[in-house]
Symmetry: D2
Subunit: 345 residues, 4 copies
């Protein structure tokens, strides 16, 4: 059994880790920490866990965490980078769901997050946890940076187009929309039910923190500089991300050829599902599951390819992908604990 | 492996059976029938099942069904009673999720469903599938009538009060509210998103078909005639039933004593969770799971006891409870295939 | 033109007052105060008011308020009672939408609100603003206490039954449900979209602050002591209250007679609409309007009468009713500014 | 008073016409027709109209309609074109909310609607009812084609950019999202609450019927051929359209200059509201109102301009705009009956 610790388990990615890990056949949950809720039974905060998780939140204890095989950080940014260096020294493997180790360039990180990076020395060693692109490096990672939710959907959607060099890399567009759980479990007026329900809006159009992460990822995939316009929107749903991706063809290639390339590229991927041509994936088709579903279109046979990508932001966009990486890191079957059917309706 | 057939799998209880049974360790799905969708891959209708269920809908074939160990009917009422008699003769065990065999009195059934019952001879043999009250009889059932969604929540909520004879049986009230999936997957204007969203209403106040089923069940529990006022409401959510139950105390018994009685009565029930005093269960705490959560109150210390009961109408209120009964009928662990953590948030 | 001031206009009842008053033919908006948002244009906080309201929030200024004909308080409880005494002395008429002056018994108020009442001397003079019961006293009120949202729906629903002395006053039940805007515009985790959406729950079953207000009102109507069990619920909608009321008949009276009594009692009420027998009012049928719709049922012809009552909690349950009272107080047509068709769908 | 008839009033645009016209100071509602609901009181179908509209649905009667000053068609496509020619001959002015007369090229219409156009002779005479572009021609229109909902938002959003010839017309993108009321009040499984809620999807990516309408409109505005990629999405809200528009700058022009051009272009438009730079309009800020709100962005200062446009699909996207056109056609103040504050929250 793999001994697992979770730091910062009171948020939505924390409870989602518990939902998944509590049924994982190879995992023993050792500790879940929260300074603010120390002493509280996890199941008192999240009643869906009653009967499944007996732990109480505890104050973070380095010795206890150091005793784990792997520690997940489900914390806001700027928390993991304080604690991780010590745990790394003590040989623990780390899976960080926050943004702290996603961007390799510390200065770029600072510019977007508005504060200095306090563990820049670890950035080089951190492995970006997108299994479909980075599986080999993930196997041996000691410090894994789980991708953001938007970035996962956008990278998986563009990947085969970029690898095949079929589109104009200078004018990619990602029009994405997320459920409200992506904003986390924080008391903000903007995320109140009465502010969000029965409404829809874009936000962060001038610049969202996921932009540099996505561009870094697309650059890695394309092996050249990519230029992305990224516009996120807020949907009045709890879970789900839908990315509508636009790219302009520069190669003379048919939609059928592109479809075939996507199917082949993802043929052995356990969690990427390329739908038949003409499909329109709904976010609910992946609710609660670790799957990313993709569909391709070429409206009016013109030059623009449209890729539709859906994930559950809390699963493939966060906790599920983190567990998938854990499975790879520990040599377990990649679907262990993740063979979940999406909840529909 | 238990060979399972499903008749009428295009509705919401059908897809929910597939979600559960496709991960059940002891089940082999043999056939799923639908006249209207014969030939279609199940996963084309329900994309959440892609990669989990390979079956196609087929026209019902008695020989194929007769070859199953158990056949589930996930059909509208008045379908099972046409087909079940033949299958019963051929030795198949039946779990009917429709209303056809829930009410023992054929005349009463006819009055509420507006048509004659065509298999009244089987009504006596049918076992009402509420495990918490009827487990012993379920073990040997050949024909099992899975309870309705409202009836499950109301019976589990009132059961210990009635068994202890602590309340006035002549004036029980069940103020229940259901998510829209309870209305099924039928093209009706009343259930359109634009008709239901951002609104709330009661319906069927003059008389809902679940009333006679609930009263029969409460009579069985109380071993005397019970009088219930039942008012269902429609909530703009997909899944979930919340029943707020009112009963007047006739015995001199404290709320703590009642709480203790509930906890003891359900101590060994794998799917009934009595919350601590003062709790308010949310429907989402059981979304996707087979659990019924209960909480007790006695406002202002007056004479009225209020019981709050929540279930997922498609799971404990339908398909999950049906699988629970199957597990009992076939001597399997009662939680097999049902050890699911509710999806929260 | 009536000069109107609003104290505390940043909440939902504040913006709703502005929506209504900005189109009221006899009203001149003079000031809207908010300490926290002083200087901000109202339309920057509430973009729906762009082009309709030019005011900016200002720090409360007693002289400016004293210059108004009427001042509305759209504040949390415990604010109005600090400021009102001075304004009353200076001859301003007050319409308080908060709870400060609804309950005549200062001690009872203290018990439920957990702090002493600082203006008990004004309680006697305060007029409870339920026009359908109290219209004559409202005309001359200098200090008007606008009823709470739940209390409005429950009182209007029970009123004719109690006035006719047809039901058992000792065992009334109000099973109510409210949209989330009733919780106000405060940053609380419990009211986040991701906490509320696709779920339903009861809350405050042990005791909700509207209970003493409702019982006081029902006592006034019945001219005897009334006993109410009141259970509020939270619906994932923005606006709307639905009360399902249960009363036991003690008189030998038919449902048709009761219906006739309701129709007659409310025949001249501009904002109470008694639906035909057999109806099920939806909350959306009153969304944005000042109407209360009622429907009567007597399930199975038994002894329990069920009354369904719907209002928009922000209109007839708060700001609309306050304006209705203002119209009465100033001798204006009662429908002035309130002749609004509900938004459906 | 203008005598108004409405053909096909049972749908959502019909009830919305009634909501607006019943409060319009210059309008007398003469008739509302529906073959299927003839005899039914309008307020029985739409209870929000109780007390506001006394009409009953009637079978369409040409003589009665011919007696009106103006007849609105709130019908599915292919209905107006059957009846309009006769009414035109009899001198009635027509405002058609359906698609029948929006596209000037009968052949193009046929290709997208899959049937021949039966009144091609009227297409030349039909005036496209987008007041912001076509006000002068609307004044004298006898046959007015009210624009579609998506087309209104997209055209208003791109208009100043195209009139100023600042962007590449060959690669415009409109990523739009609509509330479910846009699909009308028809019994379709796809639009059930349980199919739509808590989910999000694109649809009609291969080709939506609004594409040729939008391209025709943009061509008219640009006076050259425009190429648009249009991807509509379905939001789980009742009302509202949000269009996120992408255009590539070809001119050397700053965002501030563009903003100034938008503000100037729409300065005298009563129903277009250009928000300050950096804004993100929510659909709820226009719910129930006839306003289109626009906001401009230029992410990262790169070459792509992003325009955000929101309308209420049933108001500015249908019935409100139709009434705005009526006001222009009959020389009334353009805001008559339309000075409505959006319902927020």
């Amino acid at each position: 059994m793999i001994k697992v610790g979770i730091v910062g388990g009171t948020g939505y990615t924390g409870v989602e880790l518990l939902r998944i890990l509590s049924k994982h056949p190879q995992v023993q949950l050792v500790a879940i920490t929260s300074r603010s809720e120390a002493g509280l039974a996890v199941a008192d905060l999240y009643p869906n866990l009653r009967g499944h998780v007996d732990l109480r939140f505890t104050v973070p204890d380095h010795d206890q965490l150091a005793d784990c095989d792997v520690v997940f950080f489900a914390t806001p940014h700027n928390v993991a980078m304080q604690t991780v260096p010590d745990l790394i020294k003590r040989g623990v493997r780390i899976i960080d769901l926050s943004a702290d180790f996603r961007i390799r360039d510390a200065e770029l990180w600072s510019r977007w997050y508005g504060e200095p990076h306090t563990a820049p020395g670890l950035l080089k060693q951190a492995v970006y946890g997108l299994p479909e692109f980075n599986r080999e490096r993930i196997r041996d990672a000691q410090l894994l940076a789980a991708p953001g939710c938007y970035p996962t959907s956008v990278q998986l959607g563009f990947l085969p187009l970029l690898e095949n060099n079929w589109v104009d890399r200078s004018r990619l567009i990602a029009n994405s929309a997320s459920g409200v759980s992506g904003a986390g479990r924080q008391a903000k007026i903007d995320n109140l039910f009465a502010e969000v329900n029965d409404s829809f809006k874009a936000y962060g159009v001038a610049g969202h923190r996921h932009l540099p992460e996505i561009e870094q990822g697309l650059n890695d995939i394309a092996r050249e500089t990519v230029n992305l316009t990224f516009v996120p929107h807020l949907i009045p749903i709890v879970r789900g991300i839908h990315s509508t991706l636009y790219a302009e063809l520069t190669a003379d290639v048919s939609l059928e050829t592109i479809q075939a390339a996507y199917e082949e590229r993802y043929a052995n991927e356990p969690f990427v599902d390329v739908l038949p041509l003409g499909s329109h994936p709904q976010t609910r088709s992946v609710k609660g599951s670790n799957v990313c579903r993709l569909a391709l279109h070429r409206p009016q046979g013109r030059n623009t390819v449209v890729v539709l990508a859906v994930i559950d932001n809390l699963v493939k966009g966060a906790s599920g992908q983190a567990v998938q990486c854990m499975n790879i890191m520990f040599g377990l079957p990649e679907k262990a604990g993740l063979d979940i059917v999406a909840l529909l309706p």
